[in-house]
Protein backbone atom coordinates (compact mmCIF):
# COMPACT_ATOMS: atom_id res chain seq x y z
CA UNK A 1 0.00 0.00 0.00
CA UNK A 2 1.08 3.57 -0.51
CA UNK A 3 1.51 4.79 3.04
CA UNK A 4 2.62 8.29 2.10
CA UNK A 5 -0.78 9.07 0.57
CA UNK A 6 -2.67 8.16 3.74
CA UNK A 7 -3.63 10.70 6.36
CA UNK A 8 -1.17 10.94 9.30
CA UNK A 9 -3.00 10.15 12.56
CA UNK A 10 -0.22 9.81 15.14
CA UNK A 11 2.73 12.21 15.02
CA UNK A 12 5.64 12.26 17.45
CA UNK A 13 7.78 15.36 16.93
CA UNK A 14 11.11 15.16 18.78
CA UNK A 15 9.11 13.89 21.76
CA UNK A 16 10.66 12.59 25.00
CA UNK A 17 8.74 10.70 27.69
CA UNK A 18 9.39 9.53 31.23
CA UNK A 19 9.62 11.09 34.64
CA UNK A 20 11.92 13.90 35.74
CA UNK A 21 15.37 12.30 35.89
CA UNK A 22 14.28 9.09 34.12
CA UNK A 23 13.94 9.22 30.34
CA UNK A 24 12.09 6.19 28.91
CA UNK A 25 11.85 7.47 25.33
CA UNK A 26 14.08 10.19 23.92
CA UNK A 27 13.75 12.47 20.93
CA UNK A 28 11.21 10.37 19.03
CA UNK A 29 10.08 11.60 15.62
CA UNK A 30 7.62 9.21 14.04
CA UNK A 31 4.46 9.44 11.97
CA UNK A 32 1.86 6.67 11.80
CA UNK A 33 -0.59 6.90 8.89
CA UNK A 34 -4.20 5.77 8.72
CA UNK A 35 -4.54 2.16 7.63
CA UNK A 36 -0.96 1.16 8.48
CA UNK A 37 0.00 -2.08 10.21
CA UNK A 38 2.98 -1.19 12.40
CA UNK A 39 4.94 -3.58 14.62
CA UNK A 40 6.83 -2.06 17.56
CA UNK A 41 9.87 -4.08 18.65
CA UNK A 42 12.82 -3.63 20.98
CA UNK A 43 14.48 -5.32 23.94
CA UNK A 44 13.04 -5.26 27.48
CA UNK A 45 13.04 -1.75 28.92
CA UNK A 46 13.35 -0.16 25.47
CA UNK A 47 10.29 2.08 25.96
CA UNK A 48 7.66 0.03 24.10
CA UNK A 49 5.09 0.26 26.90
CA UNK A 50 5.89 3.97 27.35
CA UNK A 51 5.12 4.46 23.65
CA UNK A 52 1.86 2.59 24.22
CA UNK A 53 0.89 4.78 27.21
CA UNK A 54 1.79 7.91 25.24
CA UNK A 55 -0.45 6.94 22.32
CA UNK A 56 -3.26 6.19 24.79
CA UNK A 57 -2.96 9.73 26.10
CA UNK A 58 -1.92 8.53 29.55
CA UNK A 59 1.45 10.27 29.37
CA UNK A 60 2.26 13.72 28.03
CA UNK A 61 5.69 14.40 26.49
CA UNK A 62 8.35 15.97 28.72
CA UNK A 63 9.77 17.63 25.61
CA UNK A 64 8.62 17.87 22.01
CA UNK A 65 5.10 17.20 20.78
CA UNK A 66 2.69 14.33 20.24
CA UNK A 67 -0.34 14.82 18.02
CA UNK A 68 -3.07 12.19 17.81
CA UNK A 69 -5.98 12.83 15.43
CA UNK A 70 -4.68 16.43 15.03
CA UNK A 71 -5.03 16.96 18.78
CA UNK A 72 -2.08 17.67 21.07
CA UNK A 73 -1.60 14.89 23.59
CA UNK A 74 -1.87 17.23 26.57
CA UNK A 75 -5.38 18.00 25.41
CA UNK A 76 -6.37 14.43 24.52
CA UNK A 77 -9.96 14.22 25.67
CA UNK A 78 -12.29 11.31 26.28
CA UNK A 79 -13.84 11.22 22.83
CA UNK A 80 -10.39 11.01 21.23
CA UNK A 81 -9.29 8.24 23.54
CA UNK A 82 -12.30 6.18 22.54
CA UNK A 83 -10.93 6.15 18.97
CA UNK A 84 -8.01 4.03 20.14
CA UNK A 85 -8.95 0.45 20.99
CA UNK A 86 -6.48 -0.99 23.49
CA UNK A 87 -5.57 -4.55 24.35
CA UNK A 88 -3.48 -4.54 27.55
CA UNK A 89 -0.80 -7.09 28.37
CA UNK A 90 -2.14 -10.43 29.51
CA UNK A 91 -2.13 -10.92 33.26
CA UNK A 92 -3.25 -7.39 34.07
CA UNK A 93 -6.86 -8.48 34.58
CA UNK A 94 -8.12 -10.75 37.37
CA UNK A 95 -9.24 -14.01 35.73
CA UNK A 96 -11.88 -14.63 38.39
CA UNK A 97 -13.50 -11.21 38.10
CA UNK A 98 -17.25 -11.89 38.03
CA UNK A 99 -18.09 -10.62 34.58
CA UNK A 100 -19.63 -12.25 31.52
CA UNK A 101 -18.19 -12.00 28.03
CA UNK A 102 -20.92 -9.59 26.87
CA UNK A 103 -20.53 -7.40 30.00
CA UNK A 104 -16.78 -7.19 29.28
CA UNK A 105 -17.31 -6.16 25.66
CA UNK A 106 -20.02 -3.65 26.62
CA UNK A 107 -17.36 -1.81 28.67
CA UNK A 108 -15.86 -0.83 25.32
CA UNK A 109 -18.90 1.38 24.74
CA UNK A 110 -18.61 3.32 28.02
CA UNK A 111 -15.93 5.82 26.93
CA UNK A 112 -17.78 6.70 23.71
CA UNK A 113 -21.11 7.02 25.57
CA UNK A 114 -19.74 9.53 28.07
CA UNK A 115 -21.04 10.15 31.58
CA UNK A 116 -24.76 9.91 32.43
CA UNK A 117 -25.78 7.98 29.28
CA UNK A 118 -26.81 4.35 29.67
CA UNK A 119 -25.92 1.73 27.06
CA UNK A 120 -28.91 0.97 24.81
CA UNK A 121 -29.96 -1.58 22.21
CA UNK A 122 -27.66 0.00 19.63
CA UNK A 123 -24.65 -0.40 21.97
CA UNK A 124 -25.57 -4.02 22.58
CA UNK A 125 -25.73 -4.60 18.82
CA UNK A 126 -22.28 -3.01 18.38
CA UNK A 127 -20.92 -5.25 21.18
CA UNK A 128 -22.46 -8.38 19.61
CA UNK A 129 -21.06 -7.37 16.22
CA UNK A 130 -17.60 -7.00 17.79
CA UNK A 131 -17.95 -10.47 19.33
CA UNK A 132 -18.93 -11.88 15.93
CA UNK A 133 -15.75 -10.36 14.41
CA UNK A 134 -13.63 -12.40 16.84
CA UNK A 135 -15.88 -15.50 16.57
CA UNK A 136 -16.90 -15.36 20.25
CA UNK A 137 -20.59 -14.45 19.86
CA UNK A 138 -21.57 -17.96 20.94
CA UNK A 139 -20.01 -17.32 24.36
CA UNK A 140 -21.74 -14.04 25.25
CA UNK A 141 -23.13 -15.27 28.59
CA UNK A 142 -20.05 -17.29 29.58
CA UNK A 143 -18.02 -16.12 32.57
CA UNK A 144 -14.76 -14.50 31.45
CA UNK A 145 -12.86 -16.62 33.96
CA UNK A 146 -14.10 -19.82 32.31
CA UNK A 147 -12.40 -19.04 29.00
CA UNK A 148 -8.95 -20.15 27.84
CA UNK A 149 -6.14 -17.56 27.46
CA UNK A 150 -6.68 -17.32 23.70
CA UNK A 151 -10.44 -16.89 24.07
CA UNK A 152 -9.91 -14.15 26.66
CA UNK A 153 -7.61 -12.31 24.24
CA UNK A 154 -10.36 -12.52 21.60
CA UNK A 155 -12.88 -11.08 24.06
CA UNK A 156 -10.53 -8.20 24.93
CA UNK A 157 -9.98 -7.53 21.22
CA UNK A 158 -13.80 -7.46 20.85
CA UNK A 159 -13.96 -5.01 23.78
CA UNK A 160 -11.51 -2.76 21.92
CA UNK A 161 -13.53 -3.14 18.68
CA UNK A 162 -16.74 -2.18 20.49
CA UNK A 163 -15.23 1.30 20.86
CA UNK A 164 -15.46 1.48 17.05
CA UNK A 165 -11.85 2.64 17.04
CA UNK A 166 -9.72 3.97 14.22
CA UNK A 167 -6.57 2.53 15.81
CA UNK A 168 -6.07 -0.83 17.49
CA UNK A 169 -3.18 -0.79 19.97
CA UNK A 170 -2.09 -4.24 21.14
CA UNK A 171 0.49 -4.63 23.91
CA UNK A 172 2.19 -8.02 23.54
CA UNK A 173 -1.04 -9.85 22.62
CA UNK A 174 0.61 -13.28 22.23
CA UNK A 175 2.56 -13.42 25.51
CA UNK A 176 1.66 -16.48 27.58
CA UNK A 177 -0.21 -18.24 24.77
CA UNK A 178 0.70 -21.55 23.10
CA UNK A 179 2.14 -21.41 19.55
CA UNK A 180 -1.09 -22.24 17.73
CA UNK A 181 -3.07 -19.69 19.74
CA UNK A 182 -0.36 -17.07 19.15
CA UNK A 183 -0.71 -17.68 15.42
CA UNK A 184 -4.53 -17.48 15.60
CA UNK A 185 -4.45 -14.18 17.52
CA UNK A 186 -2.04 -12.58 15.01
CA UNK A 187 -4.13 -13.90 12.10
CA UNK A 188 -7.22 -12.37 13.70
CA UNK A 189 -5.45 -9.01 14.05
CA UNK A 190 -4.39 -9.08 10.40
CA UNK A 191 -7.92 -10.03 9.36
CA UNK A 192 -9.36 -7.08 11.33
CA UNK A 193 -6.75 -4.77 9.80
CA UNK A 194 -7.83 -5.78 6.29
CA UNK A 195 -11.58 -6.12 6.85
CA UNK A 196 -12.15 -2.99 8.98
CA UNK A 197 -9.24 -0.96 7.57
CA UNK A 198 -7.97 -0.45 11.13
CA UNK A 199 -4.63 1.13 11.84
CA UNK A 200 -2.72 -1.44 13.90
CA UNK A 201 0.03 -0.71 16.39
CA UNK A 202 1.30 -4.05 17.68
CA UNK A 203 3.93 -4.21 20.41
CA UNK A 204 5.70 -7.55 20.51
CA UNK A 205 8.91 -9.46 21.13
CA UNK A 206 8.06 -11.99 18.42
CA UNK A 207 9.70 -10.49 15.36
CA UNK A 208 9.33 -13.65 13.27
CA UNK A 209 5.59 -13.87 13.89
CA UNK A 210 4.86 -10.40 12.55
CA UNK A 211 7.61 -9.60 10.04
CA UNK A 212 5.67 -10.85 7.01
CA UNK A 213 2.44 -9.11 8.08
CA UNK A 214 3.42 -5.55 9.00
CA UNK A 215 3.91 -2.57 6.70
CA UNK A 216 6.61 -1.14 8.95
CA UNK A 217 8.63 -2.12 11.99
CA UNK A 218 9.45 0.48 14.63
CA UNK A 219 12.64 -0.46 16.47
CA UNK A 220 13.12 1.16 19.86
CA UNK A 221 15.78 1.26 22.52
CA UNK A 222 15.04 4.48 24.37
CA UNK A 223 15.68 6.19 21.03
CA UNK A 224 14.07 5.38 17.70
CA UNK A 225 16.55 3.20 15.77
CA UNK A 226 14.40 2.50 12.74
CA UNK A 227 10.88 2.89 11.37
CA UNK A 228 10.79 1.24 7.98
CA UNK A 229 9.58 -1.87 6.12
CA UNK A 230 10.85 -5.09 7.81
CA UNK A 231 13.48 -5.81 5.18
CA UNK A 232 15.13 -2.47 5.89
CA UNK A 233 14.99 -2.84 9.68
CA UNK A 234 15.97 -6.47 10.14
CA UNK A 235 19.59 -6.08 9.14
CA UNK A 236 22.38 -7.66 11.20
CA UNK A 237 24.15 -4.38 11.87
CA UNK A 238 20.97 -2.65 13.13
CA UNK A 239 19.85 -5.60 15.29
CA UNK A 240 23.34 -6.00 16.73
CA UNK A 241 23.37 -2.36 17.76
CA UNK A 242 20.00 -2.62 19.53
CA UNK A 243 19.92 -6.18 20.92
CA UNK A 244 23.64 -6.92 21.24
CA UNK A 245 25.86 -9.20 19.14
CA UNK A 246 23.93 -12.43 19.85
CA UNK A 247 21.09 -11.83 17.41
CA UNK A 248 21.51 -13.09 13.82
CA UNK A 249 19.35 -13.57 10.73
CA UNK A 250 19.25 -17.07 9.20
CA UNK A 251 19.18 -18.03 5.54
CA UNK A 252 15.38 -18.30 5.84
CA UNK A 253 15.13 -14.72 7.18
CA UNK A 254 14.38 -15.82 10.75
CA UNK A 255 15.75 -13.66 13.53
CA UNK A 256 17.24 -15.95 16.17
CA UNK A 257 19.80 -15.96 18.97
CA UNK A 258 23.29 -16.81 17.70
CA UNK A 259 23.93 -19.73 20.11
CA UNK A 260 20.78 -21.49 18.90
CA UNK A 261 21.91 -21.00 15.28
CA UNK A 262 25.29 -22.62 15.98
CA UNK A 263 23.83 -25.65 17.73
CA UNK A 264 21.30 -26.44 14.99
Amino acid sequence: MSIARQEPIIRFERASFGFPGVIALQDISLTIHAGEFVGVIGPNGSGKTTLCRAVLGLMAPLEGHLHIFDCACEELRCHHRAKIGYLPQKGVVDRNFPVTVLETVMMGRYGALGLFRRPGIKDREIAMDALAHVAMDGHKDTALGHLSGGQQQRVFIARALAQQPKVLLLDEPTTGLDMTTQHNVIELVQHLHEELNLTILLITHDINMIRSRVDRLVLLKTKLYAAAPPAEVLKPEILREVYGKDLVITEKDLVIVEDYHHHH
Binding site: L56, G57, L58, R77, C78, H79, H80, R81, A82, I84, Y86, P88, V92, V93, F97, P98, V99, T100, E103, T104, M107, G108, Y110, G111, A112, L113, L115, F116, R118, P119, A135, G138, H139, T142, A143, L144, G145, H146, L147, S148, G150, Q151, R154, Q163, T181, N184
Partner: protein, 276 residues
Protein backbone atom coordinates in the same frame (compact mmCIF):
# COMPACT_ATOMS: atom_id res chain seq x y z
CA UNK B 1 -43.19 -12.16 69.09
CA UNK B 2 -45.28 -10.29 66.50
CA UNK B 3 -46.03 -7.69 69.21
CA UNK B 4 -42.45 -6.54 68.82
CA UNK B 5 -43.17 -5.13 65.37
CA UNK B 6 -45.86 -2.81 66.73
CA UNK B 7 -43.30 -0.82 68.76
CA UNK B 8 -42.04 2.39 67.15
CA UNK B 9 -38.43 1.71 68.15
CA UNK B 10 -38.58 -1.71 66.46
CA UNK B 11 -40.02 -0.29 63.24
CA UNK B 12 -37.32 2.40 63.21
CA UNK B 13 -34.61 -0.21 63.84
CA UNK B 14 -35.81 -2.47 61.05
CA UNK B 15 -36.00 0.42 58.61
CA UNK B 16 -32.53 1.67 59.58
CA UNK B 17 -31.10 -1.86 59.32
CA UNK B 18 -32.67 -2.40 55.89
CA UNK B 19 -31.28 0.90 54.57
CA UNK B 20 -27.82 0.41 56.02
CA UNK B 21 -27.74 -3.26 54.97
CA UNK B 22 -28.70 -2.35 51.40
CA UNK B 23 -26.32 0.58 51.17
CA UNK B 24 -23.27 -1.21 52.63
CA UNK B 25 -23.80 -4.27 50.45
CA UNK B 26 -24.02 -2.26 47.21
CA UNK B 27 -20.92 -0.16 47.90
CA UNK B 28 -19.33 -3.41 49.10
CA UNK B 29 -19.49 -4.82 45.56
CA UNK B 30 -17.11 -2.10 44.33
CA UNK B 31 -14.96 -2.31 47.47
CA UNK B 32 -14.48 -6.08 47.02
CA UNK B 33 -13.92 -5.92 43.25
CA UNK B 34 -11.52 -2.95 43.37
CA UNK B 35 -9.60 -4.51 46.30
CA UNK B 36 -10.39 -1.73 48.78
CA UNK B 37 -11.39 -3.95 51.71
CA UNK B 38 -8.78 -2.52 54.06
CA UNK B 39 -9.83 1.02 53.09
CA UNK B 40 -13.30 0.26 54.49
CA UNK B 41 -11.79 -0.85 57.80
CA UNK B 42 -9.49 2.16 58.00
CA UNK B 43 -12.25 4.62 57.17
CA UNK B 44 -14.59 3.32 59.85
CA UNK B 45 -11.94 3.83 62.53
CA UNK B 46 -11.10 7.29 61.18
CA UNK B 47 -14.80 8.20 61.26
CA UNK B 48 -14.98 7.02 64.87
CA UNK B 49 -12.12 9.40 65.74
CA UNK B 50 -14.27 12.18 64.24
CA UNK B 51 -17.20 11.14 66.43
CA UNK B 52 -14.99 11.15 69.54
CA UNK B 53 -13.63 14.62 68.70
CA UNK B 54 -17.19 15.85 68.14
CA UNK B 55 -18.22 14.79 71.64
CA UNK B 56 -15.00 16.25 73.12
CA UNK B 57 -15.35 19.75 71.62
CA UNK B 58 -19.13 19.84 71.35
CA UNK B 59 -19.36 19.77 67.54
CA UNK B 60 -21.84 17.57 65.62
CA UNK B 61 -20.22 14.09 65.75
CA UNK B 62 -21.51 12.94 62.34
CA UNK B 63 -20.14 16.08 60.64
CA UNK B 64 -16.65 15.42 62.04
CA UNK B 65 -17.01 11.71 61.21
CA UNK B 66 -17.52 12.70 57.56
CA UNK B 67 -14.52 15.08 57.68
CA UNK B 68 -12.23 12.40 59.19
CA UNK B 69 -13.55 9.69 56.84
CA UNK B 70 -13.10 11.80 53.71
CA UNK B 71 -9.64 13.02 54.77
CA UNK B 72 -8.57 9.39 55.25
CA UNK B 73 -9.86 8.01 51.92
CA UNK B 74 -8.64 10.99 49.89
CA UNK B 75 -5.17 10.79 51.43
CA UNK B 76 -5.09 7.05 50.74
CA UNK B 77 -6.22 7.53 47.13
CA UNK B 78 -3.71 10.30 46.56
CA UNK B 79 -0.84 8.22 47.95
CA UNK B 80 -1.81 5.25 45.75
CA UNK B 81 -2.15 7.41 42.66
CA UNK B 82 1.26 8.95 43.16
CA UNK B 83 2.64 5.42 43.54
CA UNK B 84 4.58 6.46 46.60
CA UNK B 85 3.36 3.65 48.82
CA UNK B 86 1.18 0.56 48.55
CA UNK B 87 -2.44 1.19 49.43
CA UNK B 88 -2.53 -1.29 52.35
CA UNK B 89 0.52 0.33 53.95
CA UNK B 90 -0.82 3.90 53.77
CA UNK B 91 -4.27 2.89 55.03
CA UNK B 92 -2.61 0.82 57.79
CA UNK B 93 -0.76 3.92 59.01
CA UNK B 94 -3.88 6.12 58.87
CA UNK B 95 -6.00 3.34 60.46
CA UNK B 96 -3.82 3.11 63.54
CA UNK B 97 -3.19 6.87 63.73
CA UNK B 98 -6.90 7.71 63.72
CA UNK B 99 -7.61 4.96 66.24
CA UNK B 100 -4.90 6.45 68.48
CA UNK B 101 -6.57 9.85 68.06
CA UNK B 102 -9.96 8.34 68.99
CA UNK B 103 -8.51 6.85 72.19
CA UNK B 104 -6.79 10.15 72.96
CA UNK B 105 -10.04 12.14 72.48
CA UNK B 106 -11.97 9.71 74.71
CA UNK B 107 -9.21 9.92 77.32
CA UNK B 108 -9.42 13.72 77.31
CA UNK B 109 -13.17 13.64 78.09
CA UNK B 110 -13.91 14.54 81.72
CA UNK B 111 -16.75 12.02 82.09
CA UNK B 112 -17.65 8.60 80.74
CA UNK B 113 -19.79 9.05 77.62
CA UNK B 114 -21.94 6.03 76.70
CA UNK B 115 -23.03 7.59 73.39
CA UNK B 116 -19.47 7.48 72.03
CA UNK B 117 -19.34 3.76 72.70
CA UNK B 118 -22.69 3.45 70.88
CA UNK B 119 -20.86 4.55 67.72
CA UNK B 120 -18.09 2.02 68.35
CA UNK B 121 -20.30 -1.03 68.86
CA UNK B 122 -23.55 0.09 67.20
CA UNK B 123 -27.02 0.35 68.70
CA UNK B 124 -29.61 0.01 66.00
CA UNK B 125 -32.42 -0.47 68.54
CA UNK B 126 -31.87 3.08 69.80
CA UNK B 127 -31.99 4.84 66.41
CA UNK B 128 -34.07 8.02 66.67
CA UNK B 129 -36.44 9.45 64.06
CA UNK B 130 -33.98 12.28 63.24
CA UNK B 131 -31.17 9.77 62.75
CA UNK B 132 -33.46 7.79 60.49
CA UNK B 133 -33.87 10.87 58.27
CA UNK B 134 -30.09 11.37 58.13
CA UNK B 135 -29.55 7.69 57.25
CA UNK B 136 -32.32 7.86 54.63
CA UNK B 137 -31.03 11.08 53.06
CA UNK B 138 -27.40 9.91 52.84
CA UNK B 139 -28.52 6.48 51.56
CA UNK B 140 -30.51 8.09 48.73
CA UNK B 141 -27.51 10.31 47.89
CA UNK B 142 -24.98 7.45 47.84
CA UNK B 143 -27.21 4.95 46.00
CA UNK B 144 -28.26 7.65 43.52
CA UNK B 145 -24.61 8.44 42.70
CA UNK B 146 -23.81 4.72 42.37
CA UNK B 147 -26.75 4.28 39.99
CA UNK B 148 -25.75 7.36 37.99
CA UNK B 149 -22.12 6.29 37.57
CA UNK B 150 -22.51 2.50 37.81
CA UNK B 151 -21.01 1.75 34.40
CA UNK B 152 -17.90 3.81 35.13
CA UNK B 153 -17.55 2.36 38.66
CA UNK B 154 -17.79 -1.21 37.32
CA UNK B 155 -15.17 -0.43 34.69
CA UNK B 156 -12.63 1.03 37.15
CA UNK B 157 -13.20 -1.93 39.47
CA UNK B 158 -12.38 -4.23 36.55
CA UNK B 159 -9.31 -2.37 35.30
CA UNK B 160 -8.72 1.29 36.07
CA UNK B 161 -6.01 1.84 33.47
CA UNK B 162 -8.06 0.19 30.73
CA UNK B 163 -11.00 2.41 31.70
CA UNK B 164 -8.80 5.52 31.57
CA UNK B 165 -7.44 4.48 28.18
CA UNK B 166 -10.99 3.96 26.86
CA UNK B 167 -11.99 7.53 27.65
CA UNK B 168 -13.65 7.00 31.03
CA UNK B 169 -12.60 9.67 33.60
CA UNK B 170 -11.23 6.86 35.76
CA UNK B 171 -9.26 8.98 38.21
CA UNK B 172 -12.27 11.09 39.13
CA UNK B 173 -14.40 7.95 39.41
CA UNK B 174 -11.89 6.36 41.78
CA UNK B 175 -12.07 9.37 44.10
CA UNK B 176 -15.87 9.32 43.82
CA UNK B 177 -15.82 5.66 44.89
CA UNK B 178 -13.58 6.47 47.88
CA UNK B 179 -15.92 9.32 48.83
CA UNK B 180 -18.95 7.02 48.65
CA UNK B 181 -17.16 4.46 50.87
CA UNK B 182 -16.53 7.18 53.47
CA UNK B 183 -20.15 8.40 53.38
CA UNK B 184 -21.46 4.83 53.66
CA UNK B 185 -19.30 4.20 56.72
CA UNK B 186 -20.58 7.37 58.41
CA UNK B 187 -24.21 6.51 57.60
CA UNK B 188 -23.73 3.09 59.18
CA UNK B 189 -21.83 4.11 62.32
CA UNK B 190 -24.81 4.45 64.64
CA UNK B 191 -26.47 1.26 63.39
CA UNK B 192 -23.70 -1.32 63.41
CA UNK B 193 -20.77 0.60 64.92
CA UNK B 194 -17.29 1.46 63.71
CA UNK B 195 -15.91 -2.03 64.29
CA UNK B 196 -18.66 -4.01 62.53
CA UNK B 197 -19.54 -1.68 59.63
CA UNK B 198 -16.57 -3.07 57.75
CA UNK B 199 -18.17 -6.53 57.90
CA UNK B 200 -21.45 -5.14 56.55
CA UNK B 201 -19.57 -3.76 53.55
CA UNK B 202 -17.43 -6.81 52.93
CA UNK B 203 -19.50 -9.92 53.74
CA UNK B 204 -22.67 -9.58 51.57
CA UNK B 205 -20.62 -8.73 48.45
CA UNK B 206 -18.17 -11.57 49.17
CA UNK B 207 -21.12 -13.95 49.65
CA UNK B 208 -22.69 -12.88 46.34
CA UNK B 209 -19.26 -13.23 44.68
CA UNK B 210 -19.46 -16.97 45.39
CA UNK B 211 -22.79 -17.30 43.61
CA UNK B 212 -22.54 -15.58 40.22
CA UNK B 213 -20.28 -14.58 37.33
CA UNK B 214 -22.32 -11.58 36.25
CA UNK B 215 -21.71 -8.04 37.55
CA UNK B 216 -25.37 -7.07 37.58
CA UNK B 217 -26.49 -10.28 39.29
CA UNK B 218 -23.66 -9.88 41.81
CA UNK B 219 -24.94 -6.43 42.78
CA UNK B 220 -28.56 -7.61 43.11
CA UNK B 221 -27.58 -10.69 45.16
CA UNK B 222 -25.33 -8.59 47.39
CA UNK B 223 -28.10 -6.08 48.06
CA UNK B 224 -30.64 -8.84 48.82
CA UNK B 225 -28.18 -10.56 51.18
CA UNK B 226 -27.27 -7.26 52.86
CA UNK B 227 -30.89 -6.27 53.54
CA UNK B 228 -31.93 -9.78 54.60
CA UNK B 229 -29.04 -10.28 57.05
CA UNK B 230 -29.41 -6.77 58.54
CA UNK B 231 -33.17 -7.16 59.08
CA UNK B 232 -32.78 -10.81 60.19
CA UNK B 233 -30.02 -9.84 62.63
CA UNK B 234 -32.17 -7.11 64.22
CA UNK B 235 -35.08 -9.56 64.67
CA UNK B 236 -32.78 -12.19 66.22
CA UNK B 237 -31.29 -9.50 68.43
CA UNK B 238 -34.72 -8.37 69.66
CA UNK B 239 -36.14 -11.85 70.12
CA UNK B 240 -33.10 -13.41 71.80
CA UNK B 241 -32.07 -10.24 73.65
CA UNK B 242 -28.62 -10.15 72.00
CA UNK B 243 -26.54 -7.12 70.92
CA UNK B 244 -27.73 -6.13 67.42
CA UNK B 245 -24.34 -5.53 65.70
CA UNK B 246 -22.89 -8.97 66.40
CA UNK B 247 -26.24 -10.64 65.56
CA UNK B 248 -26.23 -9.02 62.08
CA UNK B 249 -22.58 -9.76 61.37
CA UNK B 250 -22.64 -13.36 62.63
CA UNK B 251 -25.77 -14.09 60.57
CA UNK B 252 -24.04 -12.64 57.48
CA UNK B 253 -20.90 -14.69 58.21
CA UNK B 254 -22.95 -17.91 58.51
CA UNK B 255 -24.53 -17.18 55.13
CA UNK B 256 -21.09 -16.47 53.65
CA UNK B 257 -19.77 -19.91 54.65
CA UNK B 258 -22.92 -21.59 53.29
CA UNK B 259 -22.30 -19.78 49.97
CA UNK B 260 -18.64 -20.85 49.93
CA UNK B 261 -19.58 -24.50 50.34
CA UNK B 262 -22.51 -24.38 47.90
CA UNK B 263 -20.85 -22.07 45.37
CA UNK B 264 -21.58 -22.97 41.74
CA UNK B 265 -18.13 -21.53 40.96
CA UNK B 266 -16.55 -24.35 42.98
CA UNK B 267 -18.60 -26.91 41.10
CA UNK B 268 -17.90 -25.35 37.66
CA UNK B 269 -14.20 -24.87 38.24
CA UNK B 270 -13.36 -28.13 36.51
CA UNK B 271 -15.44 -27.39 33.40
CA UNK B 272 -14.04 -24.42 31.42
CA UNK B 273 -15.56 -23.38 28.08
CA UNK B 274 -14.27 -25.41 25.16
CA UNK B 275 -13.51 -24.31 21.62
CA UNK B 276 -10.80 -22.48 19.75
Amino acid sequence: MLDLFTYDFMQRSLLAAAMVGGLCSVIGVFVVLRGLAFVGAGTSHAAFAGVALGYLIGWPPLFLAIVFGLATVWTTGWVEEKGRMKLDVSIGILYTTTMALAILFIGLMKNYNAEVYGYLFGSVLSVTEEELFVIGGLSVLVLGLILLFSKELYFIAFDQEMAEASGVPARRMFFLLLTLVALTVVVSLKTVGAILVFAMILIPASTAYQLTHSLKTLTLYSMAIGVATAVGGVIISAVCDLPSGPAIVLLATALFFCAVFLSPKRMNRSSPAHSH
